[in-house]
């Protein structure tokens, strides 16, 4: 059921987007029997002439990947694009294997991941508590949300030259730029999460004579957790993008610098192999974070499903 959904699961992609608008309007993939494969069997027969019911999604997906490689190969072989700019897929795969066996390349990958991790930890260590506070006190919420919306609209990349001047080309520069970029979505989602706490439950808690601490721990935090998780999930993809961009535009370590080096050495096969590896890395992070979210805040998904 899950596999056939296509890219349903998430709209957040790479955006630094708050939960408020997109997440609410996003429909959840219905897991009712109505969407079962039987509804589309006629089309399956029509498309491939295979006739015997629908193909499972992974077969079609695999076919898609194979088709892409064949098209890629054909484009290069027929000379539509010169092999100097786009290498044939077979070469790229060989280079990919070489890179994966190369210890120094893996070291650079670790450098990138380190910057990613530190910036995430930094931004969430500050952003989540601050967001909880700003969301909890109504007098702070309005001016803070105006400020956050303004700051969020500034593309972090514009700060790159300044950050390089301030922090040099090392880890510090990557971390500070990336932490700045992901700080806002994390903060904003934490703020929204607290604001979304059910007023009725808060009143009930107060009626039972709960103190502030208990209200926070029992009602506010659990109801804010799904939004916080959404913020962190969005931030994970964004942080990776920002770290890699910083590496491309001037850093001394990381995958991005390796790729620019190969680019300057006119080795497009290595460049493409590196890009593929990063893509797979991005996918791993994406699915890992999604899984963690589902395990840690299972009520978040249930709630969103019920929202519809």
């Amino acid at each position: 059921m899950r596999a056939r959904g296509g890219p349903v699961d998430d709209t957040s992609g790479k955006g630094t987007r708050p939960v408020a608008t997109g997440e609410r309007t996003r429909p959840q993939a219905p897991d009712t029997p109505g969407t079962g494969p039987d509804t589309s069997s006629g089309q399956a027969a029509g498309t491939g002439g295979r006739g015997r019911g629908p193909l499972p999604a992974w077969v079609l997906g695999g076919a898609g990947v194979v088709t892409m490689f064949v098209c890629w190969d054909l484009v290069v072989r027929l000379g539509v694009i010169s092999p100097d700019s786009v290498p044939p897929p077979a070469d790229t795969m060989v280079r990919l294997a070489e890179l994966l066996a190369d210890a120094s390349f893996l070291g650079q990958v670790l450098q990138t991941l380190l910057a990613w991790l530190v910036s995430m930890l930094l931004a969430s260590a500050v952003g989540v508590p601050l967001g909880l506070v700003l969301g909890y006190f109504a007098t702070l919420y309005r001016p803070a949300s105006a400020l956050v919306h303004a700051a969020r609209s500034i593309p972090s990349s514009a700060f790159l030259p300044i950050v390089i001047l301030l922090f040099g080309l090392g880890l510090q520069m990557k971390v500070s730029l990336s932490a700045y970029a992901v700080f806002w979505p994390i903060l904003l989602n934490a703020m929204y999460g607290v604001r979304d706490a059910e007023p009725l439950m808060l009143t009930a808690g107060r009626a039972m004579g709960w103190g502030r601490g208990r209200l926070l721990a029992r009602i506010v935090l659990p109801s804010a957790a799904p939004a916080i998780a959404t913020g962190l999930r969005v931030a994970c993809s964004t942080a990776l993008i920002v770290v890699l961009s910083a590496e491309l535009l001037g850093a001394t370590s990381g995958v991005g610098t390796v790729i620019t080096t190969y680019q300057e050495a006119q080795r497009p096969d290595y460049v493409y192999a590196g890009i593929l590896i990063i893509g797979v890395l991005g996918m791993l992070i994406y699915y890992g974070v999604n899984l963690a979210e589902r395990l840690l805040v299972p009520w978040g998904h249930a709630q969103r499903g019920a929202d519809r």
Partner: protein, 295 residues
């Protein structure tokens, strides 16, 4: 930006009276109070910046007032013909905006059409799913070196990157919107035997539009980021190009003024989008409210 508004918060709204002038004044005061309530924190932070930067005297981070002066000198002029914008503005901001518009427009057309096709035709959706996943996972900025080889240092390179980056959220959101349509609605539409055209125009498109608009909105921010990054990397004109140049010339107030301009552009685009979203999707909110939405 808002120091003046900060004072408005304490002014009480004028007492209502029969005279319309008083009514207007009251509305103005209320507007000031509204802005003051929201903007005092921003104003306070800017004042803090000014004070700290003056004390530190850092070359890299000038006081905010210096940046504002540089902003006025660099981007504004006193000529009405040019809408009070300077030649620098026309030379650098217009190319950037043109690239952003072209890339974003292409992404919207391709994303919405592709998303609808993939959403309606399930086999195609499953076929392209892994590829879309991979495409989304590759940070678009990593394609900068490749795009430069293919396109050279041209506007086409910038447009390609902006379009590619904006494409994924729009595509996936459109797909989601079509896929997530209420099954009762689609079944009802089928039992009404609507023509394909009617089905598309009055069921699929309206049903998916909130999701499509959400995707388009995310993409505006992404497009702006990519516009700046791709121009920082390689361009012959544009805001990112200007920023790099000022950095090389050690003209930091001008550099910051460009950052301020990018920030204002971002806020402006977001604001425009919010307004558009509100007016385009008014029926959606009304329908949700009518359906007894708990929120």
């Amino acid at each position: 930006m808002s120091a003046a508004n900060g004072t408005g918060a304490v002014t009480p709204p004028a007492a209502p009276s029969g005279v319309s002038v008083a009514g207007v004044a009251g509305r103005v005061l209320r507007g000031l109070a509204w802005a003051g309530q929201r903007l005092w924190l921003l104003a306070a932070l800017l004042v803090l910046w000014e004070v700290l930067a003056r004390q530190a005297g850092s070359l890299f981070i000038p006081p905010f007032s210096t940046i504002v002066t540089a902003f006025a000198d660099t981007w504004l002029s006193d000529r009405l013909v040019a809408l009070f914008l300077s030649d620098q503005f026309l030379a650098d901001v217009l190319p950037s905006l043109a690239r952003l518009g072209a890339g974003y427009g292409m992404a919207t057309v391709i994303g919405v059409c592709g998303g609808i096709v993939l959403g309606v035709w399930r086999q195609a959706g499953a076929f392209f799913n892994p590829l879309i996943r991979l495409g989304m996972a590759v940070p678009v900025t990593m394609l900068l070196p490749v795009a430069i080889v293919i396109f050279g240092i041209t506007s086409g390179m910038n447009i390609f990157l902006i379009a590619l980056g904006c494409l994924w959220p729009i595509l996936v959101n459109t797909y989601d919107g079509i896929r997530g349509l209420d099954t009762t609605m689609t079944t009802a539409a089928r039992s009404l035997r609507l023509s394909p055209r009617r089905h598309f125009l009055s069921v699929l498109l309206p049903g998916a539009s909130p999701s499509i608009v959400a995707g388009m909105r995310i993409s505006v921010g992404i497009g702006l980021v990519l516009m700046v990054i791709s121009e920082l990397f390689a361009a012959t004109a544009g805001l990112g190009f200007f920023i790099v140049n000022q950095q090389k010339l050690f003209r930091f107030p001008e550099l910051w003024s460009a950052i301020l301009l990018v920030a204002l552009l971002g806020i402006l685009l977001n604001g425009i989008f919010e307004l558009a979203e509100r007016s385009v999707l008014r029926w959606h909110r009304a329908a949700k409210a009518g359906a007894g939405d708990r929120r």
